[in-house]
């Protein structure tokens, strides 16, 4: 059973990863020969002021998108967990953004937000005709908004499943004890969702490390380098500046950051694997 998975993993995970590690100690323009270069690429990457900036932007995107998505996803997920017919209908509608490709979403939002020909200009709403993608803070806000718009449906789905797994008996007991809706939500739903929150947060946080297509199309890392996350920095160095060595160095950093974060999240979740279910 484990063999195909292992083969896939070695073929598509480990080997490319080792390749990237090797490349980070070389000089290669992506076309010609590969020359060993020792720590040259690492020296270039680690002394470049672009790296701390890209790290900062990456963490900012990670944090802001987590803060924006988590509460909304929990609320929508809890709402959708109800079995009323209208909620099922809404659940289908909420799910639509997830079906679209990130590139298509980015192109659409880019067109809508165009300060001269977009929604604001077209509908004569001056407050919508901001320079959305041309000012550093606004551009960051737009990225967080679009990311949330795209991924909240997915995380709501996870929370919906989580909420549905909470035994009804717990709510019935709480009802008898006189707990209202808010009390039930904060004392039963939220604590019972602990592991769901960790799962969803891990997906959000590690996923946000690889945001690329959306940002590439929306802002191309701009204005200036205000939204140049690590993944984009890697791409620009590797495929636009033809510096595969330093680009591979950044890729390795990206992997390390991802690993560290996931381990950290595991720890935050506690090492106990006790069931949270009643009576277990």
């Amino acid at each position: 059973m484990a063999l195909p998975a292992t083969l896939m993993f070695v073929g598509f995970g480990v080997i490319p990863l080792l390749g990237v590690l090797v490349l980070s100690f070389t000089r290669w323009d992506g076309i010609g020969q590969i020359y060993p270069a020792g720590f040259d690429s690492w020296g270039a990457v680690l002394t470049d002021p672009g790296l701390p900036h890209a790290l900062w932007v990456t963490f900012l995107v990670m944090f802001l998108s987590w803060i924006a998505q988590t509460p909304l996803s929990i609320l929508i997920g809890t709402f959708l967990a109800g079995r009323q017919r209208y909620r099922e209908v809404l659940a289908v509608l909420y799910f639509i953004p997830l079906l679209l490709s990130a590139t298509a979403i980015a192109i659409t939002f880019k067109a809508l937000l165009d300060p001269n020909f977009g929604l604001g200009a077209g509908m004569h709403l001056p407050f919508l005709a901001q320079d959305w993608l041309g000012r550093p803070n606004l551009a960051m806000g737009v990225i967080i908004f679009v990311v949330s718009w795209q991924f909240i449906p997915f995380h709501s789905l996870i929370y919906q499943g989580g909420v549905r797994q909470i035994p009804v008996t717990m709510y019935e007991a709480a009802l008898i004890d006189g707990a209202g809706r808010f009390r039930q939500f904060f004392s039963i739903t939220l604590p019972q969702l602990k592991y769901t929150i960790i799962t969803s947060s891990t997906l959000m946080i590690v996923g946000s490390l690889t945001f690329f297509d959306l940002i590439f199309v929306l802002t191309a890392g701009g204005p200036g380098d205000a939204t140049r996350v690590l993944a984009l920095d890697m791409y620009k160095r590797g495929f636009q500046a033809n510096l595969m060595g330093p680009a591979s160095g950044i890729a390795v950093i990206l992997v390390l950051v991802g690993l560290a974060l996931a381990l950290l999240l595991r720890r935050l979740g506690g090492s106990s694997t006790d069931s949270q279910m009643d009576g277990a």
Partner: protein
Amino acid sequence: MDLNPTTRRSFLGLVLGGASAATLAACGGAAPTQTGAGGASAPPAGGTGTATYWFLTGQPQQGIREATVKRFNAANADSAIKYTEFQNDAYKTKIKTAIGAGQGPTIIWGWGGGGLAEYVKNNEVEDLTSFFAENAALKSKLFASSFGAATVDGKVYAMPAETVAPIVLYYNKKVFDKVGVQPPQSWGDIMALVPKFNDAGIAPFSLGGQSRWTNMMWLEFLLDRIGGSEVFQAVFEGKADAWSDPAVLDMLTKVQDLVKANGFIKGFASITADSNADQALLYTGKAAMMVHGAWTYGSMKADGGDFVSGGNLGYMNFPPVEGGKGDPSNTVGNPGQYLAISSKASDVDKATAKKFFSTAVLDDTEVKSWVDAGSVPVVQGSNSNFGSGKDADFLNFVYDVSSKAKTFAQSWDQALSPTQAETLLDNIAKLFQLSVSPQQWVDNMNKVIGK
């Protein structure tokens, strides 16, 4: 405690995530927008192989390129060429990656200069010097100035093709009449026009700033007008600290002055040139002027309603800067587009490509199509085709600017190596964003000279 399996699984999941982050760049390239067999008949069973040809989308150029291939295929049923089309910015990445991976096309469409030199360095393209020696008529048919960017170390590695495209200062005559001002004759005039247009609620200049090379055109002209063509030539030749020339600081300061004076359309940093939104700003009268390539004339004519046909489009060479050393006849831009042949292609395909070069590219039909589309082909005497049609004025203007320029400099990002070009474009974007000072800009650029 059954922690371990889960940990390992999440660990593995993460490594996989990281690996996909590392490989994701590989998927970041372009999907071809369209593939055409480009012609009626498939190659016969004789097994002559199929030459391939990649080029850019965007009308009217795309249609002309397709038509040339189709004409060639119709005449040479046994050696058809297959073409694939890509968007501009995506193509630049895709072609490099594909050639590096040995998956490139037989005929490589490009801009010559630094990019071509990189292929030459890696033996990826065929030396065409002897081909042009054998086809002297073909060589003498093309603009002599167009061969500069095709030549590396004295050898010719590409055929100049398509059109000569200097950068032009366009203006909207209607808007100038409305505000009651005259086109600028100097840099001082430009700075004086800026507040007048801003007061009238019209942006002085349109700019597709997210594409970055659009901003670069300003630097190219200003530096040439202030310091002459020698300043960038020193950078091109890789002389240490070549950017430290005082003309560079002067030029960078002038650019930032113009940005600070709101010389460019609001939101220019989020406008891309690929969408032609910058041109739309000019022909809809939201912006008064635009510095852009001669190739935009065709699309403004096609998309701008009666803007071009109604005689509302004005154009001129970039004006001089007071006290500047540069020759005002100088221009910058694309001295041509370039077709190279992959050295990895089979001999049959190479022969097909050469036949394509000598019989189809820039034949009389193609020359006429380019002229009809409002462009000047890189063909000697093509001005005899200009006639007296509606586009004749513009065509003669471009022909004169190109042929009379004392220096026709190649666009910087095409002339320099990709590594320098990326740093250049990055710093230019920051310059327009006012997030680097002129001195920081010079320091950043000096670091990558010759790389």
